[in-house]
C-alpha cells in the first residue's frame, strides 16, 4: 500500500524539516479563463464542457440565486472578504483532448500524481483502489474503469457521465444539495467544473474501494468540483477522497459539493483525508475549504457513513450531513479535526431524522494546538414522523497549549417523544502522568504525545479503511511536530 502513501519512507527527522510536503507547483501549460464570474463565464464553462440545455439552465438558476444571496458570517471565522471577481473559475491542463490511454496523458501530470504518492500507471496501480484524479478543474484520469464496468458500476468524471449517462445525471444531480441550498453551494452549482460520478447498480457490492484525489495547482484558481454517488437497492460502496495543494501566500477557495443517494438497503461509506495546504505558521496563505456534503438515505434500511480526518486548510467550514428519510436508515459521522498555528475549523454534522426507527451516531474528536480554533457545531433534528429514532453523539476535544480554543455547539431539536437522543462531550489535555508513564519507559516526548493523540482518535481511525487509518495517524503526528512543550 506504500504507493498510495501521503508520506513515503521518511524518517521523522525528515518529516520535521518538511512541514508541508505537497507544496510544489507543477509547471504545466494551463487553459484558463479570465478572472471573475458573470453570466457569460457560466455559459462559457457550460459550452466548453458541451453540456445539455438542462445543465446550463441549472447553472444559470444557481448563478441567479447566488447573486441574490449574502455571504454567511455566522460562525465568525473572521477571514478577510473574498473577492469573487479575483478568482479563476476554470483552469485545465492543455493537451487534454481525447486520450485513448493513460500513456497519452501529459507525463508532467503523471509525475505530479506520482510525487503525491498516487500512481496512475497501469503496472504501479494499487491493486484494490480505483482512482479518479482531479487536477484543478478537470479530471485527468480514472483507473480501473473497465474492470468496474463489468459489474455495471459507473465510475468516471462527472463531465463524461453527463455525456454518456445523461438520464442518471439528470435524475440525481442537484437533488440532494439544490442549486440554492447555501451561498457556496449556489456558487458551486453555477461554476462547477468536474468531479466524480459513481453509480452502483442494484444488488452490486463494489469489489474495490473507489477514490478521488483532488489537486489544486493554480495559484489564482478556485476549485469547484462536484461529486455525485448513487447506490441503488442493495448496493454498497466505499469511497475515499484525498486532497493537496501547493503553497501560496494567498488564500484559495475550495467550494465543492458532494451528494450521496442511498436507496433501499444500500450502503455508502465516504472517507476523507483532507490535507490541503494549511498556511504557514504565521497564518499566511492556505486553502479556504467551504464544502457542502450531504447524503440522502432515501431507501429503507439504507446506510450512509461519513468519516473525515481534517488536518489541512487555513479554514475548514463544513458539515457533512445525513437526511434519514427511509425507515430504519442509519447515518454515521466520525471525525478527527486537527488545527495548529492559526488554522480554524468549524465542522460537525447534521443528522436529520425523518423516517421511523432511524438511527445516527456522531463521534467527533477535535484537537487544537498553537493559536488555532476548533469548533464542533452539529445538529440532531428528530422530526415528528421519526418514531423510535435514536441518536448518540460524542464530542471530545483535546487542547495542546494554552492559546488554542476548543468550542462545542451541539444543537438538538426533538419533536418526537418516542425518540432517544443522547449527547455527551468532554474536554481534556494530554495528562502529565500519562506522559510521565510513557517517558519512563523510554519513549521520547514527541512520540509519547503522538501515541496519546492517536489513542484519542482511535474511535475514528477504526472506521477508516486500513491504509487510510495509518496515513491519517502519521499525518496527525506530523502536523503536531513542534507544537508541544
Amino acid at each position: 500500500m506504500r504507493n498510495f502513501s501521503f508520506m513515503d519512507n521518511l524518517s521523522s527527522q525528515e518529516l520535521v524539516s518538511q512541514p508541508y510536503k505537497y507544496g510544489f507547483v507543477t509547471d504545466i501549460e494551463e487553459d484558463k479563463i479570465a478572472k471573475g464570474v458573470n453570466e457569460d463565464v457560466v455559459r462559457w464553462i457550460s459550452a466548453k464542457r458541451e453540456e445539455p440545455q438542462y445543465l446550463l439552465d441549472f447553472r444559470l438558476r444557481a448563478y441567479k440565486h447566488w447573486l441574490s444571496m449574502a455571504e454567511p458570517d455566522w460562525p465568525k471565522l473572521g477571514y478577510p472578504p473574498i473577492d469573487y471577481q479575483d478568482i479563476i473559475y476554470y483552469a485545465a491542463p492543455k493537451k487534454m483532448e481525447k486520450k485513448t490511454s493513460l500513456d497519452q496523458v501529459d507525463p508532467e501530470l503523471l509525475d505530479t500524481f506520482n510525487r503525491l504518492g498516487i500512481s496512475l500507471n497501469e503496472q504501479k496501480r494499487l491493486s484494490n483502489v480505483a482512482v479518479d484524479a482531479v487536477f484543478d478543474s478537470v479530471s485527468i484520469a480514472t483507473t480501473y474503469k473497465e474492470k468496474l464496468a463489468e459489474d455495471g458500476i459507473i465510475f468516471c468524471p462527472l463531465n463524461e457521465a453527463i455525456k454518456e449517462h445523461p438520464e442518471l445525471v439528470e435524475k440525481y444531480l442537484g437533488t440532494v444539495v439544490t442549486s440554492n441550498d447555501n451561498f457556496f453551494a449556489a456558487l458551486n452549482a453555477a461554476v462547477f467544473s468536474d468531479g466524480s460520478f459513481v453509480f452502483i447498480p442494484k444488488g452490486v457490492k463494489c469489489p474495490m474501494d473507489l477514490s478521488s484525489y483532488f489537486r489544486i495547482n493554480s495559484g489564482d484558481a478556485g476549485q469547484f468540483e462536484r461529486t455525485l454517488i448513487v447506490a441503488e437497492e442493495g448496493a454498497s460502496v466505499s469511497y475515499l477522497e484525498g486532497c493537496t495543494a501547493p503553497m501560496f501566500d494567498t488564500n484559495q477557495l475550495h467550494a465543492a459539493v458532494v451528494e450521496l443517494v442511498a436507496l433501499d438497503d444500500a450502503s455508502i461509506k465516504y472517507s476523507t483525508v483532507q490535507n490541503w495546504y494549511p498556511g504557514d505558521e504565521n497564518g499566511v496563505g492556505g486553502i479556504y475549504n467551504f464544502v457542502t456534503k450531504r447524503g440522502h438515505c432515501r431507501g429503507a434500511r439504507s446506510h450512509i457513513s461519513w468519516t473525515q480526518v481534517e488536518t489541512g486548510s487555513a479554514i475548514t467550514w463544513k458539515y457533512p450531513s445525513c437526511v434519514l428519510m427511509g425507515p430504519d436508515s442509519v447515518g454515521e459521522f466520525y471525525s478527527v479535526a486537527l488545527t495548529n498555528h492559526f488554522q480554524q475549523a468549524d465542522t460537525g454534522t447534521k443528522m436529520i431524522h425523518l423516517g421511523p426507527r432511524t438511527r445516527s451516531t456522531i463521534v467527533s474528536k477535535g484537537i487544537s494546538a498553537g493559536r488555532s480554533s476548533n469548533s464542533y457545531r452539529g445538529l440532531v433534528n428528530i422530526g415528528r414522523s421519526a418514531e423510535g429514532a435514536r441518536n448518540y453523539s460524542q464530542c471530545d476535544s483535546m487542547l495542546i497549549g494554552d492559546s488554542a480554543a476548543a468550542n462545542t455547539y451541539p444543537y438538538i431539536h426533538c419533536q418526537q417523544p418516542q425518540a432517544a437522543v443522547e449527547h455527551e462531550a468532554s474536554t481534556c489535555r494530554i495528562s502529565e502522568d500519562q506522559l510521565f508513564y510513557l517517558q519512563s519507559r523510554g519513549i521520547a516526548f514527541e512520540e509519547a504525545v503522538s501515541m496519546m493523540v492517536s489513542g484519542f482518535c482511535q474511535d475514528v481511525y477504526s472506521q477508516l479503511p486500513l491504509e487510510f487509518a495509518a496515513e491519517a495517524d502519521r499525518l496527525l503526528a506530523l502536523r503536531l511536530e513542534n507544537s508541544i512543550g
Binding site: 494554552d402 462545542t408 451541539p410 438538538i412 431539536h413 426533538c414 432517544a420 468532554s426 474536554t427
Partner: protein, 413 residues
Amino acid sequence: MTNSLMNGVSDWLMSLPSPSGLLEKVQRDGRSSLSQLELPNRKQESWRFSAVDRLESIFSRPLQGSRSHGIDQSIPAAPSNGLRLHLDTDQNQLRSLTLPAGLSWLTEAEINTYLGSSLACFGSESDWLVELNHAATQHLLALRISGSPPPLELIMGNSCDGLSATRILLILEEKAELEILQIWRGEANTSQSHILEVQLGSDSSLHHGVLALGTGNSSFFAHLAVQQEPGSLYELTSALQGWHLARIEPRMIQSKGKAKTILNGLAMSDHDQEISMNSFMRFDGPDGEFDQLQKNLVSGHSHTVFNGAVSVPKIAQKTNASQLSRNLMLSPRARIDTKPELEIVADDVRCTHGATVSQLQEDQLFYLRSRGISEIEAAKLLLRGYCKEITSSLPVEAERWLPLDHLLNQLRS
C-alpha cells in the same frame, strides 16, 4: 419591526407614569433605548428558538402600580422563621420596615454606585429584556447582607393583569450567608419582568430559589447577573411552570475564579407554553467549579429551550465544569431544543456536558406495574422522582407553594 408594533411600543412607553423616585434615571434611559431597539427576532442567535411574536402582548397591557390591598388570602401564611416581603409594596413603605440583624437597606449613594454594575460586567445592560425592565421598573429592593440573617421570602409582583417590573440588588459581605426564595405567580394577562444583581463577597454564600408558576397567557422574564469573589458559593434552583412565554437568563461570573456555582433548573410546560433557560457562565480566574443540571418536562404541544453557554478563557486553568440537560417528552406534539455552548481556551481544565431526550422508560414502567401499581400511578411516580431531584434543592419553604403532586396532576398526558 413593523410600523404598527413600533407604534404599539411608543404608545405603551407614552402610557407609563413619568420617571420618578430612586430609579428616575434608569427609567428615563431605558425608555429612550427601548424606543430605538429592535424587537428580538429569530435571526438573533439567542432568540432563534423562541416564539418572539408573543413578546408583543406586553405592550397591550398596563403597568401595575404599587400594591394597596391588605393580606392576600390565596397565598400560604408567612414563614415563621423567616422574613416575607412583598416587592410591589410602595417604595417608601417598604424602606420604612425594620429589618432583622444582618440585613440593611443600601443607601441612595450605594445604590447609585452598585446598580447596573453587574449587568455591565456581562455587557447585558442594553439587552432588550433588560431595557424593558429599566423602562418600567418602579420597585427596587436593595440590601446589604452580613452574617447569617434569617431566610428571605420575596413575593414578586402579583397575579393581576398587566406588567409587573421588579428589581433587586444584593451585596453580600465577606462570609455572609443568605437563603432567598423568590415567588412569582401569573394569571391570564400578567407579565413579570425582573432583574436581579448580586455581588457575592469572598467566602459568602447565597442559596437562591426561584419559583415561577404561571397560567393562561402570562409571561415571565428574569435576568440574573451574579458576580462571585473567590471562595463564594452561588446556588440557584429554579422551577418554572405554566407560562405562555417564560425566559430565565442567569449570568454568572467568577471574577477571580476559585468559586463554586451550582445551577439546578426544572421547567414544566404544557398546552402551547414555551419555557426557556438561557444560562451563561464565565470563569475569569483559575480553580472555578460549575455544576448545572437542567430538567425539562414537556407535554401538550409546548416547547422548552435550553441554551447554556460556558466560557473558559486562558486564565481559567483547573476549571471543573459540568453541564447536563435532560428532557422528558410526554406528548407527540411537544418540541425540545437544546444547545449547550462550550468555549474553552485554557488547556488544563475538565469540562463536560451532556444532553438527553427521551420519554418515560418502558422497563421502569413495567417494573412498577408488575408490582401492582396502575399505569397512571406508575407514570406519576416516575415523574415525581424526576422532578424531585431538582425541587428538593429549593428552600424548604417552597414546598408550601409548589405541591408537586398538584402540578403533576395537571399534566394532561
